[in-house]
Amino acid sequence: MTRPPDERRRRFLAGSLLATGSLLLGGCDRLSRSGTLQPLFDASEALTQRAHRLLASREALAREYTPADIAPTFRPNGTTFPRERAYMRLAAGHFRAWRLEVDGLVERPQAFSLEALRALPSRTQITRHDCVEGWSCIGQWTGVVLGDLLARVGVKDEARFVVFHCADRFPGGDRYYESLDMREAYHPQTLLAYALNGAPLPIANGAPLRLRAERQLGYKMAKYLMRLELVDSFAHIGGGRGGFWEDRGYRWWAGI
């Protein structure tokens, strides 16, 4: 009637559970390094992107905040002071000699000075910046709507991505770059921003011009912009994955 003491059985079970656990963990680390699961990870990213495209319409806007919500200092991340000689010369001259080249699959390749960009119709928005690390910061951005600029240069039908080439090399040696597809590029809140909180964009935050793509994580929002290139594929650029961090294992779809 009284149950047999199954102390030994219990200890054996606990032991095997622990052993299985550590084996699984070691296995997971090995799986992470070997790339065996990469097709599954790729499928999950594709699923995420598709779900986002289904749920967030072309026009669905990121939340815009009130002036009271603006953070006292907008936290800079990544490169905060490019050391490249060409960039430092431009900065020393208050970016008067700086030009944004727009080329690739466009009808009329053009270079824009900061004055020329400031003369174009602008948009000001108070939005939340979400870093892939997990923190958020709210700031007010003013700039040219990217879609307006693209309309000016005339995008060819074959173009599928806008590639953003930057001035800075992040420690690691490669030049920073990023890419957006045409749907995010033409989003009404996607800006080439030259002002933060009503003042010229500080160097720490990407002077003279940075990208704002408000439905994406921070690493998409390239700083120190030098050139926009319209392409049908980014396979030949950098590591071929569409961005500096993407070449280092982060996903191209940065909506989550």
Binding site: L25, D29, E45, L47, T48, R63
Partner: protein, 284 residues
């Protein structure tokens, strides 16, 4: 009393079919998902080991932060919760073998992957989430539409009267036996209902609130949870609550007959624990 009324029943084993095949499959796949989600979640947390309340991060006043400080030439792990400071060296902030200490919020044995690797942690997290969420939705529908929710999980009004005794019995590790073990007791029902219909949906929705694209698609998420950083904090608290459930759940399984319980979740067959005269409460 019932032992006297049914003297033969105590000697013969009563075997019931406790869990359907779908329930068993769902259970073990969900265990796998939750372990991966928790550990990869801690890897992601380690990239910015602080929690805030509100729309954005007030870096000077986190609700919780885990960091490291140098004291007398030695790194100490410091965990701050509101105004409280704790030295958590060895577990949080600073961990790893003596002499080869690592400065990281959660220790390597608790994160997936073990080394600091945010990009990989995210891939594991989202892959497991894509398995966990459809399984959860399917299981909740199965419970509701199949009538199992009403038959097995919703407490009957009469049950509440015994809540006190049931609680005391559980704390003394005395569990219902015989016919009373045929159905979930009130504490089990409340625990499973809370996990399935409160914590699990909450952990999913607060997770989605951290996605900037989802915030554009469903802006109400931000209003419901009081902002993205509040949602991140709630997501963390849900994970802590799920971990607490896991610990209690496994302890109860161990304390109330590990073989019988495990078998019921593998083969579906559960032997009703026989009534015992020695356990019979003479006062009842």
């Amino acid at each position: 009393m019932s032992a006297m009324h049914h003297p033969t029943r105590d000697r013969s084993k009563t075997v019931i079919r406790r869990h359907s095949l779908f329930t068993r499959l769902w259970h073990w796949l969900t265990v796998l998902c939750l372990v991966i989600l928790l550990m990869s979640g801690l890897q992601i947390f380690n990239a910015h080991p602080a929690l805030y309340w509100g729309k954005d991060s007030h870096f000077d006043s986190p609700a919780l932060s885990i960091g490291a400080e140098r004291q007398d030439g030695e790194w100490r792990g410091i965990t701050q919760l509101g105004g409280w400071r704790f030295d958590t060296t060895g577990l949080l902030g600073v961990s790893g073998p003596e002499g080869d200490r690592d400065r990281r919020a959660f220790p390597a044995w608790a994160t997936l992957p073990g080394p600091r690797w945010l990009a990989m942690g995210r891939q594991w997290h989202f892959l497991a989430a894509w398995l966990f969420v459809p399984l959860l939705v399917a299981y909740l529908l199965y419970l509701v539409i199949g009538g199992r929710l009403r038959r097995r999980l919703l407490p009957r009004t009469t049950e509440w009267r015994h809540l006190g005794t049931l609680l005391i019995d559980h704390l003394r590790l005395r569990f219902p036996r015989g016919e009373a073990a045929r159905h979930y007791n009130l504490l089990q029902k409340l625990a499973y209902l809370t996990v399935l219909f409160v914590l699990a949906p909450l952990v999913v929705l607060t997770g989605l609130t951290m996605s900037p694209t989802m915030d554009a698609a469903w802006p109400w998420l931000l209003d419901v949870f009081g902002g993205r950083q509040s949602a991140r904090t709630l997501h963390f608290l849900c994970a802590v609550a799920l971990l607490a459930f896991f610990v209690i759940h496994v302890s109860m399984v161990l304390a109330s007959g590990v073989v019988n319980n495990l078998r019921s979740m593998i083969t579906g067959r559960y032997v009703l624990p026989p009534e015992e005269e020695s356990r019979h409460d003479p006062t009842s």
